[in-house]
Amino acid sequence: MVLESEQERPVQVVFTGTRREMAGILLRGYALMLPTIGLYRFWVTSWKRRFYWSNTEIDGDPLDYTGHAMQLLIGFMLALIVFVPIYAVFFYLSTQSGEVAVTGYGIVAVVLWFLTGYAGYRARDFRLSRTLWRGIRFDQAGNAFGYAFRRFGWTILMLLTLGIVYPWMSSNLWRYRWNNTWYGDRQFNFTGRARALLGPYYLAYGVVVVVGSVGVLTSAGMGAFTPGGPSDPLSVIPGLVAALICGAFVLIYQSREMTRFWSQVHLGTANLAVTIRARSLIGQYLLFGLALFVAYVVLAIGGVVVLFTLANDAFAGEQFDMALFMSHLQGSAGVLIAVVVGYLLILAAFSFMHELFIGVGFWKLVARNATIGDVASLRSVRARGEDKTLAGEGLADALNVGAY
C-alpha cells in the first residue's frame, strides 16, 4: 500500500539554475558578439537553451538540448531567401504615393503575420525535436502551413468580433500544438476547453475596455494629446495608471490561461499540473521594471561622466553649452565611439535584464509550480525515427518570434 501511494504521488519538476550562471552566459555572449559582428548570437541562443534545459529536472533526470549554433546560423541564411523579395517589395512601396504605399504595406503586414505563425510552429518543432529526456526525443508532427492558416483564420475572426472569440482561438491552437506533440512513440493529448477561459478572459477584457477608455479619456480631457506635447505634465498620469491596471489584468488572465491549459496536457496516463499565481507573474514584471530602471540610471550616470570627460569645456560655463558640445560630436572620433558604445549598452542592458528577470524568472516560476502525475507510466515509451529535416529555425529567427 505504501509503495502504491508513493507511485501515485505526482513528481515535482525541479529547476537548478541560477541567475548568476545565466548572467555569465550573457555577458560572455555580448562580449563575443562585438568581434563576430553579431554572429555569436546563434551561439548565445544555444548556450541559453542548454542552460534552461539541463537545469530542468523531471523525476531526477534533466532535459537535454542537442541543437547546435550552426543549425541556427544555416536556418537564418535560408530565411534570408524569403526576406530578400519581401525587402525588395518594401523598397518599391517606399517610393510609391500614399494610397498605393498604405495598401502595399498592409498586404506585406498580412503576409508577415501569416509567416509569423508558420515560423513559430517550425521553431517549436525545432526545439522539441532537439529536446531529450531519458534519452528519448520529443517531436512535433502536424503541418506548419496548416497551423499558419488556422491561426490566420482565427485572427480574421478575432478582428471581426473585436476579440470576443479569443478563448476559442486559444483552445483550438493549444489543441493543435499539443495533439501534434510527441514524446518518443507516445502522443500528447490536450483536453482544455474554451469555457475554462471565459470567466478570466472576459473579466480582463472588460477591465481593459472600461479602465483603458476611462484613463485615455481623462488624460485627453486634461490635454495630454494636444499636438506639440501634453499641455499639463500631470495629464498623462490617468493614462499611465490605466495602462498599469490593464497590464496587471492581462497578466492575471495569462496566469489563469497557463494554469488551466497546461494542466490539461496529458501524455498517456501521465499528466501535467501547473499552478501559476498571478501575483508571482506580476511580481516578475515589477522586478524586471525595477532592474531595468536601475540599469538605465547607472548607464545614464556613466554616459554623463564619459561625455563630460570627452567634452568638458561644454560643461565649463554656468550653463551647458549645447553648440560647443555638438561641435565636439562632429570633431572627435572619441565622442562618436562613445555614442555608438552607449547605444549598444542600452540595447544590451535591456536584453540582459529581460533574460534574467522575465526569461529565467518565468522558466523558474513554471518549473517550480509544475508537477507530473504518473511519471512511472513513461518508462515504457520507446524512441521513434529521427527528424533531421529541420535546418534551424530560419524564419523564426529572422522574424524574432519565440522566446527561449
Binding site: 534519452g135 553648440a323 547605444y343 513513461l378 518508462r379 515504457s380 529572422a398
Partner: protein, 384 residues
Amino acid sequence: MSVPARYQDGLVAQVIDVSLDYESVGSAGNLLLRDRETNAILTRWAAADIHPAYGRKGELRLSSITQNSGARIIVTGPAEIGQVRAMLPDLTTKQAMEFSKQVRIGVIATVALATVILAYLYGVPLLAARVVNYVPPDWERTMGDTVATQMEASLKETDNFAICDPDPNSVANAAIARFGAAALGTGSPFTLDIKVVRTDVANAFALPGGKVYFFSALLDRAESPDEFAGVLAHEIGHVVHRHAMEGLISSAGTGALVGFILGDMTGISIAAGLGSTMIDTHFSREAESQADAYAAEVASRMDFQPAGLADLLNRVAEDDDFSKALALFSTHPLTEDRRVHLQALTHETPAGLEPPFTAAEWTAIKTMCGSPLKAPPSKTKLGN
C-alpha cells in the same frame, strides 16, 4: 575499479544504474557497462567512439557515435568524473577539438561576413549608380511628385512654408528657369522644376525626377549671384546624376545589411535606421563631390565662381554652430574641404561668357520672397 553511473540506451525511456569499467582489447578499449543491481553486462561502448555531450556543472554526459543518438552515460560527482576521465584520456582532447572546431566555424563565418560587408560598402554605391540607369524616368518623376507633396505638407505645418512668386513668367522665375535649362544641358531625361520657397530653414535640395527646392532662408544669406548660381548648379548636378534615386537604392541596400547583422530582417528596429544612416553618409559624400564637380563644369560655360557655393555654406555655418553638430549625421563633407576642392575645380574662365544673371534679375530673385525672415535658422542642410 568500477565507477557508478547512470545509463540510458536511447531506445526506452528508462535510466539504469550501472557501474563502468575499462576493458582493454589490444591497443583499443571498451567501456563496460554493468547493471549495478544484477551485475549483468548490459553493453560495451568502444572508447574511441565516445564523445562528451553537454552537461551542467558537476555532471559528465557521454555519447557515442556508434550508439543511438539519445544514448548517454551520465557520471556525477567530481571524484567519479575524475575516474572516468582517467579511463578515457582522449575525452579531453576531443573536447578541445570540438571547441577549436567551434572557434574555427565562428572565425570563418565572421571573416565571411566582414568580406560581405566590405564588398557591400564598396559595391552598393557602384551598383546603385548602375541600377539607377534602369529606373524608368517616368517612375522617378512620379516618385518625385509624391515626395514633393509629402514634403510640402510637412513643411506647411512647421516652417511657415509658402511658394515665393508663383508666377512662372516673372522676371525672377524666368531667369532661374533659363539658368536651369542652360545648366542642365541635353544629357538628362528630366525637365527641371525649380521652386524658391519661404521657410525658416536654410537649405536647398533636389528631389527625384528634376524637382529642385531653394529655401528662402538660404537665399537671404546669399550675397552675390555667384553664390546663388553655385548652389543651384550643384543641385542640378544632383538631378543630372540622379543622386536622389541612387540614394534611395543605396539606403535600401544598407538597411538590408544592418538588418542582417542585427538579425532583425523586419527592419523595424531603430538600430537598423541609425546604422544605415551612418553607412549612407559615406555614399552621399561621393554624391556631393560629383555635384560640386558638375557645378564647376557649369561654371566653365557661364561666368560665375563655383567657390561661391562654399562661401555661402561657410557663412551659414558660422552663423549657426548647431549646423556643425548635425554634420555628424548629415550628408555633406565639411565645407572647408569642399572649398578647397571647388577652388581646384575652378577653371580659367574663358573671356566673353555671359554672367548667369543680370543685375536686374538678381535683384528680382533676392526680393522674390519679400523681406528676409528674421527668425534664426535652426538647421542647415545642403544636398539632396
